[in-house]
Symmetry: C2
Subunit: 134 residues, 2 copies
């Protein structure tokens, strides 16, 4: 739920029953964080406009919001150089770097994407049968 600064996620509100990995998911896999962290982790330090160009579908507003969130969570380090024109660089933090095994596990699992696609085809072929009623 890509929550901003203060709101608790709907998973967090029921900690006694909710799965323990939900908080991690909220932090690491909220809406645009994965491409940002991935890029910073894979290709190193980036200026704002460089991130914009790499993640072509993101708007500056959203990129700013997500970078702020990641900076606040300690996953990204923002460095402001008071020059003219101004230069701001973002790099992954040590904490962010600790996500590498996670990303690797994600990448490993992507071999199953074909199976997911096949499951969708099968489901879509079966579904009309299930919902047929007239």
């Amino acid at each position: 739920m890509t929550n901003d600064t203060m709101s608790a996620s709907p998973v967090d509100v029921a900690p006694e029953q909710a799965c323990p990995i939900a908080p991690v998911v909220d932090i690491v896999f909220s809406r645009w964080t994965t491409p940002i962290l991935w890029v910073l982790n894979e290709y190193g330090r980036h200026r704002f406009v460089e991130l914009e160009r790499r993640i072509t579908t993101i708007t500056p507003k959203v990129l700013t919001e997500r970078l702020r969130q990641l900076e606040r969570d300690g996953l990204v380090v923002r460095t402001y150089h008071p020059e003219v024109p101004p230069r701001v660089e973002y790099e992954i933090s040590e904490l962010g770097r600790s996500l590498a095994p996670l990303f690797a596990a994600l990448a490993d699992w992507s071999i199953n994407l074909g199976e997911v696609e096949q499951a969708r085809l099968d489901y879509d072929a079966r579904k009309p049968v299930r919902s047929r009623r007239t």
Copy 2:
């Protein structure tokens, strides 16, 4: 990274994001899928109401939507028993079970949640300085 089984894989549908793990994130870590998969993976087969009771903050409508999605993606198996009253059971599929290492990696990383929390406190303590203008 973008591992492709045979033909055009869904991995390549969003190359503009420059993030090969994004498709996996979309499938596995979309809105409510994590608690559902976690519960089914950890505690086995569940009826609809049992899932409702375990994930206390989810509404039946959303639970249904997410279960349909997970079923379509082949991560969850739905079994309908035509009884009175009707009984429906959900269990994780073999493909869904292959997510276990991923979940384990997530759980491992949760030891860093304290550091995230600390980073937030630090950021919130510094932030007023950055935006101070009077």
